[in-house]
């Protein structure tokens, strides 16, 4: 009973999904900020940043990776669990559905969470294959005596291919939809709501989704159209 209450009720499932979602939202923001160094024509800062994360943070990176993976899997598994429950909760659907306008927060983003989420999952696997486990090119940045990975080069190469650009842009748009509902919704699912707070966090959530999506959409496009050919 207690176990079920804490780990498996309709409310607690959403609590963990929310926590995981918020962790990932924060990660996305950090990731985006880091990636902005790609706008710098000098490849060194980005590569050094990348090197710092992977080689100079000690055990921390493993912990961070573990936590990210853990939260992603938590989010994913609970999402599947919740969604199956939700599908089962209405075995016979309506022949006609007209969304209530009024105060409803239902949106394209909110009703496609499981699909946008699934695509993000596929994307994440590919993303790791492309970059984390992709082709590794070494070089020696200025002021260094040893070689480090030229992540900058890998990214630039990758986005020379319009197919890759299209895929990334498309998924980042979907991610934006996912966040447009997910971000504020996480607060609501954690019980952080109120007459004034809910409209506020809803707006913040949508803005956050736009910032993240626009940022991540912009990078590949920018690389493709301006810098892609330069290397």
């Amino acid at each position: 009973m207690r176990f079920k209450m804490i780990l498996a009720s309709s409310l607690s499932k959403k609590i963990y999904m929310s926590i995981a979602g918020l962790v990932w939202s924060a990660f996305l923001l950090v990731h985006l900020l880091g990636n902005l160094q790609l706008l710098n024509p000098d490849r060194d800062p980005f590569n050094k940043y990348s090197y710092f994360l992977t080689h100079q943070t000690g055990e921390f990176i493993y912990l961070a990776e573990f936590l990210l993976a853990f939260f992603f899997i938590t989010h994913f598994l609970y999402a599947i669990w919740v969604q199956i429950g939700n599908w089962r909760a209405r075995p016979h659907g309506y022949s006609m559905v007209r969304w209530a306008k009024n105060t409803s927060k239902r949106s394209l983003g909110s009703v496609t969470m499981i699909y946008t989420g699934a695509l993000v999952l596929i994307f994440l696997v590919l993303h790791l294959i492309h970059f984390k486990y992709g082709e590794v090119v070494y070089y020696t940045p200025k002021g260094y005596t040893h070689q480090i990975r030229d992540m900058y080069f890998t990214v630039m190469e990758f986005f020379k291919n319009p197919v890759n650009v299209f895929f990334y842009v498309a998924v980042m748009v979907l991610l934006g939809f996912h966040l447009s509902h997910g971000a504020w919704s996480a607060f609501q699912s954690l019980g952080l709501s109120g007459k004034r707070f809910t409209p506020f966090i809803y707006t913040i959530g949508v803005l956050f989704a736009i910032v993240v999506a626009v940022g991540f959409v912009f990078l590949p496009l920018w690389i493709y159209f301006t810098r892609g050919g330069a290397l």
Partner: protein, 251 residues
Amino acid sequence: MEKKKLTIHLKVWRQKDADSKGKFVNYTVNDVNPDMSFLEMLDVLNEELIKKDEEPIEFDNDCREGICGMCGSVINGTAHGPQSGMTTCDVRMRMFKDGETIVVEPFRARAFPVIKDLAVDRSALDRIMSKGGYTSVRTGGVPEALSVPVPKPNADEAMDMAACIGCGACVAACPNASAALFVGAKVSHLALLPQGRPEAARRVERMVAQMDEEGFGACSNHGECEAVCPKEISITAIGRMRREYLKAMFK
């Protein structure tokens, strides 16, 4: 002052009983007075059906003034019809156009099995209430009413939450068929009052457990429930329920 009469086409869900397969049946009702309520229009249709030796359409209804919570259909894709803050019995025919086709379906959820036609079984909501939709006091064993002051803002918000009429439209409109607004409203009503505090944790734990047991979906904050709620109960009720639940988890 004679008002223009309407012709209304209906596509109504007909289902003999819980075990039968249902289907949509088309009807046309002529000379509909725009001042008629939606249910009165169904009454008129039923009178015609009875005269034609056909079975009338079963639909639940009682007070017909928007307070008992017994009526409820999905009208043209929206629980309780096109206008917000209304029950099905409050819907008037002037909200529809002459010659319009109206699709009428029962509330649909696994926890609300169809009994017949548009009538569904919402006893799941009662079972949830039996797990904690009250303060555990006995008749007579209570203090003088003045002994516990209640701050007016709390009393007012508790009243907002207590306004739930248990119609189940929140479940019907929720893409997940979740009863979170229903449970959240009751949990919030009692959590806001000092009288409800002593068993706040037990209440939310038991009511949520029963809600899950009944096969309702999980709330994913679409907010459709609030938009169709005849009493316009805010989803902050769900937020408060979750806060109470978190507190209970740490108890």
